[in-house]
């Protein structure tokens, strides 16, 4: 019944329909985002600073540029297909970020409610990137080197140990009790003795990161291999598979979902110890830089570095998700 009435109504009222069509074509949130970003730019250049921070002009230019882009997108985003849909999806976020920039700028540089040196306006962070770019890039490189050496070696050793523990009764007899004792100890607790065992502090730092990422991988891999459906091995043995085949072609792929859980845990642990590991007498690295700047009350630099670290960590986590989705593609039907 109500359906029929609606259809009749729609046929009668022609002009309101075309008006809503116009509203459909314009992305309202895009206009709001443009307004918010423009407000941030205006606040930055239009109001006097309580304390000067530098890079205010650059920050205003960037936010004004952002406002212009959103204003343009408001009219064309509907024609951009899937990319456009993704942009529209994050519309409320774009508005919130613009508002956040404006309020942040107001409360710090303009009103001084959040005082220097503990707080910094967004252009203060920007100024850090402008002024410290060469040093920060070196620190990023050092951190990535330490992290990748530690994480990769930890994962390789941890995975091999996990497969051995899950597969072989003898390995598990000797290895499991040791793993149960070592596993719960935080990796950083080993710092005192690593200095004794390793020739350089860098090697000691790599070891700490490797330990932090390797232990969860070992635990999850061994339980994953041990939990593989026995019937798969029966099938393999019945078809004439030798032991190496049972391990590499059955135990390894069957335990992969567990292994990825271990990899994600190892990833988070490795990030957590990374900063600590870089405090062990390192001369470069993001963790070292944070510590150094904290000592000199360079909080803007600390915040700027934290932003870099969180972006790097989030990027690596994203990469691991992509790898998992590729490798566990076959599971789509179960999840």
């Amino acid at each position: 019944m109500s359906n029929a009435i609606e259809t009749l109504d729609g046929g009668a009222a022609n002009s309101p329909a075309s008006l809503s069509g116009l509203q459909q074509a314009i992305w309202t949130n895009g206009l709001l985002a443009a307004a918010a970003w423009a407000a941030a730019a205006l606040v930055t250049v239009g109001l006097p600073d309580v304390v000067p921070w530098g890079s205010a002009g650059l920050f205003a230019a960037i936010t004004a540029g952002g406002a212009a882009v959103f204003a343009a997108l408001a009219f064309i985003v509907r024609r951009l297909g899937r990319t456009g849909d993704a942009i529209v999806h994050y519309g409320p976020w774009f508005i919130a970020i613009g508002v956040w920039f404006a309020l942040w700028e107001l409360t710090t540089a303009k009103l001084g409610w959040l005082p220097k040196p503990f707080f910094s306006p967004p252009n203060g962070l920007l100024n850090v990137y402008v002024a410290e770019a060469p040093r920060l890039l070196v620190c990023i490189a050092y951190t990535l080197r330490l992290w990748s050496l530690g994480f990769v070696s930890g994962v390789v050793v941890g995975y091999a140990a996990g497969v051995a523990l899950g597969w072989s009764k003898r390995f598990s007899y000797w290895g499991m009790p040791i793993l149960k004792l070592i596993g719960p100890v935080p990796a950083t607790a080993w710092i005192p003795c690593t200095f004794f065992f390793f020739p350089t502090t860098f090697a000691a730092s790599v070891f700490i990161v490797a330990l932090a990422s390797g232990i969860p991988v070992t635990i999850l891999t061994s339980s994953g291999v041990a939990a593989v459906n026995r019937a798969y091995y029966d099938v393999g043995r019945n078809l004439g598979a030798p032991n190496w085949y049972l391990i590499s072609k059955i135990a390894v792929p069957a335990s992969l979902p567990h292994v990825f859980v271990g990899l994600f845990m190892g990833l988070y642990y490795s990030f957590a110890v990374l900063v600590v590991a870089e405090m062990l007498g390192a001369k470069f690295g993001l963790g070292w830089y944070i510590q150094f700047q904290t000592a000199y009350s360079g909080y803007a630099n600390v915040y700027a570095t934290l932003v870099i670290m969180s972006l790097i960590c989030a990027g690596i986590v994203k990469l691991l998700f992509v790898a998992r989705d590729q490798l566990l593609n076959y599971q789509k039907g179960f999840i």
Partner: protein
């Protein structure tokens, strides 16, 4: 059928094998106590014969098939294939489980190729994999993953995974037990056709009297656990058989009576 000839070309030796089960008893350890499952089973299966095992659930039918496959050793007694003792699993004797147990991470093609791959002969016998898939009508699903198959298709894939190895002995553990009745009927017919063409020896465990009568040349009825042989029925009717065949109807009544389910 062309697919069958292609399978036959595989270089493995025997077409079929005679199985001799003599005085086999088996018990499982259950945390201290022992659970007797098989009690002095004596059974000769001639080369190329199709034997069906019927018995109450949990009586030890699957256990017997595992012993014959060589996946496990009996507590006592002896099992031989063409006279030589079965002391380990071998791809000439293949057990098809009640669950298809396909590897979920591998495509249908790779699943079927598992045996050839594991023995390092896949490169020479890739055509055999395609032929086996043709045989069970799954060629079009070569690239599909197991979760994309229906129950009947998965069971067919499991059958292809066994047949590609050109087994001399096929051990079927309620392979159609979980399928709907229409799929069951068509797969039963396919199984008979396959067996008649390929000529392997077959031992089928089933809980379906009709299925046993349609497929096998001999029906062995087992007792409650620990299983002993309770009765044996010869089914001397030509293939393909029809379930309404008067002789089969009489046999079915006799077998049901033996199982204590007289009607």
């Amino acid at each position: 059928m062309a697919a069958v000839t292609a399978l036959r070309k595989a270089p493995q030796a025997a077409q079929s094998v005679a199985v001799e089960i003599s005085g086999v008893s088996h018990a499982f350890d259950l945390g201290g106590s022992r659970l007797p499952v098989l009690d002095s089973i004596d059974l000769s299966v001639a080369a190329g014969e199709f034997v069906a095992l019927l018995g109450p659930s949990g009586c030890g039918k699957s256990t017997l098939l595992r012993l014959v496959s060589g996946l496990e050793q009996p507590s006592s007694g002896k099992i031989t294939a063409d006279g030589s003792p079965i002391d380990r699993p071998d791809p000439s004797r293949i057990l098809v489980f009640q669950d298809p147990t396909l590897f979920p991470w591998a495509t249908v093609w790779s699943n079927v190729a598992t045996g050839l791959d594991a023995r390092g002969v896949l490169a020479q016998q890739r055509a055999g994999v395609d032929a086996a898939l043709d045989l069970v009508g799954l060629r079009a699903f070569s690239g599909a993953y197991p979760h994309q198959l229906s129950g009947g298709m998965a069971q067919r894939a499991a059958l292809a995974r066994a047949l590609v190895n050109d087994p001399a002995l096929l051990l079927l553990d309620e392979p159609l037990g979980k399928l709907d009745s229409l799929t069951r009927l068509s797969l039963q017919a396919e199984l008979v056709a396959l067996w008649r063409k390929a000529g392997f020896t077959a031992i089928l465990v089933t809980h379906d009297v009709e299925e046993a009568l349609l497929l096998s040349s001999r029906v062995i009825v087992l007792t409650e656990r620990p299983a002993r042989i309770k009765a044996e029925f010869r089914v001397e009717r030509p293939y393909p058989r029809h379930r309404d065949d008067a002789d089969l109807v009489i046999l079915r009544r006799q077998i049901l009576a033996t199982l204590g389910l007289a009607t």
